[in-house]
Symmetry: C2
Subunit: 253 residues, 2 copies
């Protein structure tokens, strides 16, 4: 059915000098990628950009136009280097406002924590027209503005915001995958992989080599939106690998 | 001196469906970022793109034009999904050739490993006019083509290629940094951070909050190409933090 074949796509912008300097190892790419798989939304592209308004605006405008959803992580705290909200508003061509609901959330949260200062009030600022994404850990909410989801940079907080968004976004046919592992150098079966992929038009086969126990192996990941084609392709690849005299390990090594 | 102030920049393209699906957690962004810091080259932007020729070509042409150096990781193995060399060649507008030196390296490497098959010979293909980047682990070299450095996706092999490139690229004034840690909510010192950064024009201050031991803290990273300005800014920020009655921890928490 056509409606099942619609592919929904997303992009992610990771914002922060600390990732580009190597100081902080990003964890949000993998986390957002895995979450999107479950939502049946395909992550098409990720960009990591500096705390720089022009860089953020360019990335936001390019990626929101060509994807169903755009996520950002980072740069929504209370300090001067947190410029994501202003940059996204500039990209969308809307003013920044203090969101009444966000302000109320922060007032409650900081009531027993020293009160809502000017710096903390920065975290209630959103592009005009936004709705909020709950943050059960520190009060300060994420922000949804059209198809742009503005989320925290601290991975545990991002995780909470993703939880709050689970099931809220329309997804399409999920991309299914199965993995077959084999103790074989990938170059030895390159022709088999190519021919198998060609025989199953709706499937893609990724080849991921590794080294262990003093020998070379590879995991082959077959992906398809069709469960039937996926099963047939996996079967063909398994038979092809075993025809070379090797054992194909379902689920991967 | 003017020559010391020249900033050299780089971008990185991480190529691979396995990163975008969440199956593989990227390690090359952090590794390339840290290596570039030592080379006194500033990483300005990272893109993660799919195994898709159009996506790679677009990213290569955008990023090589606006940076001194462009690095790619992934997609240079022997299988059908390894399309990086072809995509970079297309972006550069040059044909793909079998590089004689790369072929010789692979012939030697595979002499005792089953010989140089057609699939393995794929790893000797380069854009015309390229030079090679040594790979001491598996023979198959990285590729340098103008300002584009094509590297492996497997992090340990990428590391070896970065070693081979160390000291080979012209860098500029290194971006120096110092970290100060403090058990303080960043929102409580947001004004101090903003004022301190304003007072030291050549410095940037990043604020990175964390939670531990049941309380909130933050590390403040001051960055500058001027050692003198950096030291003065760190001193001012340290004094400002201690004026609030807290301890500033040199080196961070």
């Amino acid at each position: 059915m056509a409606s099942q074949q619609r592919i929904y796509t997303a992009a992610l912008i990771v914002i922060g000098d600390e990732i580009l300097s190597g100081r902080t190892h990003d964890k949000n790419i993998a986390q957002v990628a895995s979450w999107l798989q479950v939502q049946a939304i395909r992550l098409k592209e990720v960009r990591v950009v500096a705390d720089d308004t022009d860089a953020i605006v360019e990335a936001v405008n390019t990626l929101r136009a060509r994807n169903d959803y755009l996520f950002t992580t980072g740069g929504i705290g209370p300090t001067h280097d947190d410029i994501t909200v202003d940059a996204v508003a500039q990209a969308l061509g809307v003013p920044v406002i203090v969101h009444p609901e966000a302000r109320a959330i922060l007032e409650t949260y900081y009531e027993t924590r020293g009160g809502l200062t000017d710096a903390r009030l920065r975290m209630a600022r959103t592009p005009e027209g936004a709705t909020l994404i709950a943050n059960r850990y520190t009060g300060a909410p994420g922000i949804r503005c059209g198809n742009v989801m503005i989320m925290a940079g601290v991975p545990s907080i991002t995780a909470g915001m993703l939880d709050a968004l689970s099931g809220q976004l329309e997804g399409g046919a999920p991309l299914l995958s199965e993995t077959i592992g084999c103790w074989v150098g990938e170059s030895e079966v390159a022709e088999l992989l190519r021919e198998t992929e060609k025989a199953f038009e709706t499937c893609q086969i990724g080849s991921y080599p590794f080294w262990g126990e003093g020998r070379t192996g590879a995991n082959f990941v077959v992906r398809s939106v069709s469960a039937e084609d996926l099963a047939a392709c996996v079967q063909a690849l398994t038979q092809g690998l075993e025809a070379t005299g090797r054992t194909a390990v379902a689920g991967g090594i």
